[in-house]
C-alpha cells in the first residue's frame, strides 16, 4: 500500500472534490455537510453503517440525485452543471451492477460504449480481457452468476478509461476468493493512477484496501484521514490465551493492563465466538506486551497466544461520537 505523506499528496491532482454537500428529502436532511477530496492514484474508503447516507452521497457524485446545497467537482467540472464533461471521467457501479439480462455481455458493453465517444470494439475487448470474462462474454447476461455480473459491471465502468472509479459496496455477494481478487485488481488500477472510491460498511474491508477513509454516520462525515491514523488512534484490544487463567489475570492487572469484563460487547461476534475459558481480553497496552510476556512465563503461566484485535466499526463510532449510538 502506497502511503503518500501529506506534502506528496498535495502535489497529486484532485480528481474528485466534494464541498459541503447537503441533501434534504421531505423535511429531513439526509446528507448534512459532507466534504472530502480524492486524489489520483488514491484508494478512498467511504465507511459507514447501512443507512448512514453512503449510497445517497454516491448518487450525488454521479448526478443521479441533485444536491440541495454544496457541489461535486470531477476533474474540475461541476457534475450538476456540466454532467456531459464531468461524467466522462467517471466509471461507476451504484449499488448492484444492473445490466440488461436479455442482452449478451458483449451487447451490454456495446450499448454503454455507444453512449460515450472514443470507445471502439478494441477497447471493449480490452476491458473484457481485464475482467477475464472472455469465455462467457457472448452469452446472455441472465445466465451469469452474481460474480460474473459484478465483473461485467466493472468492465462497463472501465470502458471510458475513467480517472475516477466509484464502487458501491463492491464485495457484496462475492466469495472470499473473489473478494481477494477484487482487492488486488483495485490496487493495480490505483497504481496505474486511477482514483478509486469504495464504499463499505465493513471496517476490515476498508483497512485492507484503502489509503484514506471518510467515516460517515447519519449523513455527517465524522472524520477524514489516513486509514491507519484513524484506526490505530483508537481503541484496540488484545486477546490472551493464558493457563492457568486466574494467575495470568493477576499478573496482567499488576502490570497495568485493563481487563475487559464483558468482551462480547466490544468484539465482533465472529471473534467473540472464538473465546474460551482461557481467554483474557484487555485494552491495548502498546509496547508493554513484550515486557509482560516474559514475566508471565517466568511466573509459570503458559502463554498460548497473544494477539491484537482492531476495534469494530461500532467501537470506532462510539469513540468518535462519544457514546452516541449509531442507527
Amino acid at each position: 500500500m502506497i502511503h503518500p505523506s501529506g506534502e506528496e499528496r498535495s502535489n497529486l491532482a484532485t480528481v474528485l472534490s466534494v464541498e459541503h454537500l447537503r441533501k434534504k428529502i421531505g423535511k429531513k436532511w439526509i446528507i448534512d455537510d459532507v466534504t472530502f477530496d480524492v486524489k489520483s492514484g488514491e484508494i478512498f474508503g467511504f465507511l459507514g453503517p447501512n443507512g448512514a447516507g453512503k449510497t445517497t452521497t454516491i448518487r450525488m457524485l454521479v448526478d443521479l440525485i441533485k444536491p440541495t446545497e454544496g457541489k461535486v467537482q470531477i476533474c474540475g467540472y461541476d457534475v450538476n452543471r456540466d454532467p456531459e464533461r464531468a461524467l466522462a471521467f467517471v466509471g461507476s457501479i451504484v449499488e448492484n451492477p444492473e445490466v440488461y439480462p436479455y442482452l449478451t455481455g458483449w451487447e451490454n458493453l456495446q450499448h454503454f460504449a455507444r453512449m460515450q465517444s472514443g470507445i471502439d470494439e478494441q477497447r471493449i475487448q480490452e476491458v473484457v480481457d481485464i475482467v477475464r470474462l472472455d469465455q462467457r462474454i457472448h452469452d446472455k447476461v441472465k445466465t451469469y452468476s452474481l460474480g460474473m455480473r459484478q465483473r461485467l459491471g466493472i468492465a462497463q465502468a472501465l470502458l471510458g478509461r475513467p480517472k475516477l472509479l466509484i464502487l458501491d459496496e463492491p464485495t457484496n455477494g462475492l466469495d472470499p476468493k473473489g473478494i481477494k481478487e477484487l482487492r488486488a485488481f483495485i490496487r493495480r488500477l490505483a497504481e496505474e493512477g486511477m482514483a478509486v472510491f469504495v464504499s463499505s460498511h465493513l471496517l476490515s474491508e476498508i483497512q485492507l484496501l484503502c489509503d484514506r477513509v471518510a467515516i460517515i454516520s447519519r449523513g455527517r462525515v465524522l472524520a477524514v484521514g489516513g486509514v491507519n491514523e484513524l484506526v490505530s488512534g483508537n481503541a484496540n484490544y488484545v486477546i490472551w490465551q493464558l493457563s492457568p487463567r486466574p494467575r495470568g489475570t493477576e499478573i496482567l492487572v499488576a502490570h497495568g493492563a485493563k481487563i475487559v469484563d464483558d468482551p462480547h460487547t466490544v468484539l465482533d461476534d465472529s471473534i467473540a465466538a472464538g473465546l474460551n475459558e482461557n481467554s483474557v481480553v484487555t485494552q491495548f497496552i502498546g509496547d508493554s506486551i513484550s515486557n509482560i510476556v516474559p514475566i508471565l512465563v517466568n511466573a509459570g503461566v503458559e502463554v498460548r497466544d497473544v494477539h491484537k484485535i482492531n476495534p469494530t466499526l461500532e467501537q470506532l463510532f462510539l469513540e468518535m461520537t462519544e457514546g452516541e449510538s449509531i442507527e
Binding site: R59, E84, M115, Q116, S117
Partner: protein, 329 residues
Amino acid sequence: MNSILPLIKNETIKMMKKKRFYVVILVLIVLVPIFVYAQMKIAETNREKFNSDWRLAVRQAITDNQNSLQSARVPEEWKKYRIIYIQQMKYYLEHDVNPQEPGGVGFTRQFMDNAATLFIPLLIMAIASDIVSSERSSGTIKMLLTRPVRRWKVLLSKLIALLMFVSLIVVSAFVISYLISGLVFGYKGFNIPVFTGFKLNGSDVDLSGVHAVPQWAYILMQCGLIWFMSITVAMLAFMVSVLVRSTAASIVIMMAALIAGTILTNMASAWTSAKYLFMVNLDLTNYLAGTPAPIEGMTLGFSLAVLAIWAAVSLLISFTVFTKQDILN
C-alpha cells in the same frame, strides 16, 4: 457525445431484443385470421339469403333499421345513428355502389376502422408502457444516466425509437390484415369507389359534399388518421411510463383511460365538456366514414387539435420530470 443516433440505435436494439415487437406481430397474425373467418361466415349467409345480390342485402339492412326507428325501446341517441346510416345506404344504392364489396382491401379498411380505438392502442401500449419504467424497475436507469449524456437526450432517443415502432405497428396491422384476408377474399379492390364527405346536421345528412374516392386513397387517409391517433396514445403512455415505476401500473392506467373513453362515447352526449378529453377523440376515422361524433360540436379539426394538445402537454411533463427527478431506488 453529441450525436443522438447511437442512442436511438441502443433503444431500437433493446426493443427488438425484448421481443415485445414480435409479440405484437404475433397477436396480429393470430387474431386477423379469426376476423377473416367471421367475415367469411357473414358473406356466406348473405349469399344464401340474398342470392349474392348485394342490393337486396342493402335494402334489407335499410328496412331493418327503418323498422327499429318505430320501436319505443330504441333510445333516441341510437335512432340518430340509424337515420344517418339509412341515408348513407340509400346513397350507395342510388349510385349503384356496393358498400361492402368483398375483397381483401375492403376487409382491411373495415378492420382498421374497428381496430383504431382499442386494438391498435393496446398494441402500442405493449411497447410504450415499459420503455422508461422497465429501466427504472430493473435499475439499469442508473447505468444509463451516469454516462456522459444529458438526460433529455436519453429520453429523446427513447421517444424517437418509440415513434418508429408505433409507425411500424400501424403499417404492420395494415399489411398483415391485407395479406391474410387476401388469401380468402382476393387481393383486388384498391380502385373500388368509396363515398366520403357526408356532412351531418343533427340527424340530417348533407349530401352536397359527398364524393367518391378510390378505396386506396380512402385507406391512405384512414391510416394517416390512425397514425396520428397512435402517436398521441404513444406519447401519453410514454408520460405514464416516466411517471410510474411499475410497468403493470402504467399499462393499467392507460387501459383504464382508453376504456373510459369508449364508455363515455356511449353516454356523454349530454356532458359536452367531455369532448376535451383525449379518449373520446380517438375515433378519427369516424369523420371519414361520416358516422356522427359522440358529442355535439366535435369536428375532425377539433379532434386533431385536442389530441395534439394532449400529446404536447404529455411530452412537456415527460421531459420536465425526467430531467429533474432524483433517482432514488
